[in-house]
């Protein structure tokens, strides 16, 4: 893995201006995605990880959503501000996205083949035969059996795993260099989850593809991730290589998350959990958004928002507990 940053997100803020107030779903996210790495965005429901992913391609509903601040730099272009026509060239061709629920992410009235071909024709200038050949190849790479039959099938005629794989095939049709996978395994069962994870791993290894993998499941992070960013209250609270974050978490929230992983060998009857709920994004707590739930809360946490600071070269954390912060 080289350290060249392929995609750089700086102080990204995506807010939703609703009738009941401003929802600060993403509130200052920084990260850089390197070529060929898998960056996991981890967090509870409602922490802003999906909106972060949607913001990268400006796919949230606008209005009410708006990127109020920050930059998303890809090949020298700021995706947060570039004209929509230019962004459309990048969507699907350079940066593709896989959705959580393939059932609803495929158009119910067209065959898989038609949809993949349509997708290919969006960016590439191929005739129908060439496009069909490419579609066949893509599905074959996703290890879909009986490719020719699959091409003529409608989404409702396929199983959940097949649909998810078809969806991935579709998003890979123009050889993107970044794949955003928004909880791609949440809606499928365990065996299919394993297959999908294998496919993603192969993509990373064989095609040198960068993957942004969004999940709430730390076991998947361990399986696929190179680095992980823990998101809480619309901000990254800790970012580090997966090994390090799982073994030496620095932020109390990360520690809480990891301690929540069920451990079959442990004696305790109750699963541990983090007390309290995710903060209401319309009414964020002052200071560190995690302080009402933090078991090591200090006075400073209630008033001062901790910045994301490096405690090691590769490990950054936003918490007042770390002595070299706030200096």
């Amino acid at each position: 893995m080289n350290s060249e940053a392929l995609l750089e997100v700086k102080n990204l803020k995506t807010w939703f201006f609703t009738r009941r107030g401003i929802v600060k779903a993403v509130n200052g996210v920084d990260f850089a995605l390197r070529r060929g790495e898998c960056l996991c965005l981890v967090g509870e429901s409602g922490c802003g990880k999906s909106v972060t992913a949607l913001s990268l391609l400006r796919l949230f509903d606008s209005p009410p959503g708006k990127i109020v601040e920050g930059e998303i730099i890809y090949q020298g272009i700021d995706l947060a501000r570039c004209p929509i026509g230019h962004l459309r060239q990048i969507r699907g061709k350079d940066i593709a996205m896989v959705f959580q629920n393939a059932q609803s992410a495929l158009n119910p009235i067209f065959t898989i083949g038609d949809q993949i071909i349509e997708q290919i024709n969006t960016h590439l200038d191929l005739n129908r035969e060439q496009a069909l050949e490419k579609a066949r190849m893509l599905l074959d790479k996703m290890r879909i059996p009986e490719v020719d039959r699959a091409l003529t099938q409608y989404p409702h005629q396929m199983s959940g795993g097949m649909k998810q794989r078809a969806m991935i095939a579709m998003s890979l049709s123009c050889d993107p260099c970044i794949l955003i996978a928004d909880e791609p395994t949440t809606a499928v069962d365990v065996t299919i989850r394993a297959q999908i994870m294998n496919i993603l791993q192969e993509l990373k290894r064989n095609r040198d593809m960068s993957i942004i993998f969004i999940t709430h499941d730390l076991s998947l992070v361990r399986e696929i991730g190179d680095r992980a960013a823990v998101i809480y209250g619309g901000r990254i609270v800790e970012i580090a290589p997966v090994e390090r974050i799982l073994n030496k978490p620095a932020h109390p929230y990360t520690r809480g998350l990891i301690s929540c992983l069920p451990d079959v060998s442990s004696e305790s009857k109750r699963l541990p959990s983090i007390e309290g709920n995710t903060p209401n994004p319309m009414d964020m707590p002052s200071g560190c958004p995690f302080h009402p739930r933090c078991n090591r809360v200090m006075d400073v946490c209630r008033s001062v928002l901790p910045e994301l600071m490096n405690i090691l070269d590769v490990h950054a954390v936003a918490c007042h507990l770390h002595p070299n912060l706030g200096k």
């Binding site: 459309r88 996205m97 609803s104 009235i109 067209f110 969006t122 969806m167 123009c174």
Partner: protein, 320 residues
């Protein structure tokens, strides 16, 4: 046709063109509703009569004062003629004959020929005006739902205004100003009749718009027009078809009503015109009014039955 326009056609005709199997499936479901098949049969019969009938019947405008108000075969009409010489009434019985199988009107015009010509006009006006209305309605509805925001607001308020505007008054006004021709009638009905369709399509498209596959195709680089034409419209096409078949009767009735009050195209013979002529001679020649009345009744009923059947066939939740 270029391959580009073929592919656009494929997309809009959507699953019906691409998938014969799907068409077969709907046909099977439709067949379970006997009334709708009867309706379809009648519509097809009417279409054939309307297209080819005029080749075989007499000229519907040819008056023949030798045989005024001749009843259909099997019926008779009593006629009293005042004889000046004898200063007396001579009664005579007129019997229907096979030369005029549906009788004649007061000017001796052949009823069959007139009804056949009326069928042609009714279908022409019904299909064309509905086509315009449904096309506009679909386009405006999808545009409104997909673009949202102020576009949606503007289009829907415009729809509201069009809805509250008394369309018949407008029709009468326009016919009064520009004179009456079939083209004007078709245009006016088509250009005012899209409002209901637009609202219905908008509501359907609104719920489709939030579905993941729309976001997914956006994520993969699809443009707005591509999403509207390739994803939204094919998904509402079954609704469009049902709506069209159910709104044709209203259009046919509107045209008949216009002709009935004398604002129809004076150069053509439509069912409304015949009805109008027939109302003056109801006592002497009932068939002149009754025959176009029956035709209108059956046609409207046929389209309604067919539309109902289609709606059930397309509705995945209906158990038939």
């Amino acid at each position: 046709m270029t391959s580009k326009s073929i592919s656009v056609l494929r997309k809009i005709a959507g699953p019906f063109y691409v998938n014969r199997r799907l068409l077969g499936y709907y046909w099977e479901r439709l067949q379970k509703n006997k009334l709708s098949i009867a309706g379809l049969g009648f519509i097809l019969f009417l279409a054939i009569v309307g297209i080819f009938g005029p080749l075989f019947t007499q000229d519907p405008t040819k008056a023949d004062l030798e045989v005024p108000n001749m009843p259909p075969p099997g019926f008779t009409r009593q006629e009293s003629i005042y004889n000046i010489k004898t200063n007396d009434f001579t009664n005579r019985t007129i019997e229907g004959g096979l030369t005029h199988p549906l009788g004649t009107d007061s000017k001796g015009r052949d009823m069959l020929a007139m009804l056949v010509s009326g069928a042609r006009i009714s279908l022409f006006v019904g299909l064309l005006a509905t086509g315009i209305a449904v096309f506009l309605g679909t386009f405006i509805g999808v545009l409104s739902a997909y673009l949202g925001g102020w576009v949606d607001n503007a289009l829907m308020r415009f729809t509201d205004i069009m809805m509250t505007f008394p369309f018949f008054l407008l029709l009468v006004l326009i016919v009064f100003i520009f004179g009456s021709s079939l083209a004007i009638i078709v245009l006016v009905i088509g250009l005012t009749g899209w409002t209901g369709a637009a609202r219905l399509i908008r509501s359907e498209a609104l719920s489709l718009r939030t579905r993941d596959f729309i976001t997914a195709s956006k994520a993969l680089g699809a443009s707005d027009t591509r999403i509207m034409f390739n994803h939204l419209i094919p998904n509402v096409i079954s609704l469009v078809i049902v709506m069209a078949s159910l709104s044709i009767p209203g259009v046919i009735m509107a045209e008949a009503a216009l002709s009935f009050i004398g604002l129809g195209d004076p150069t053509s013979t439509s069912w409304g015109t015949i009805l109008n002529a027939g109302q003056h001679s109801l006592e002497t020649a009932w068939w002149v009014a009754v025959e176009p009345g029956i035709m209108l009744f059956l046609t409207v009923l046929a389209f309604n039955f067919f539309g109902d059947g289609l709606r059930d066939a397309f509705d995945p939740k209906a158990s038939i």
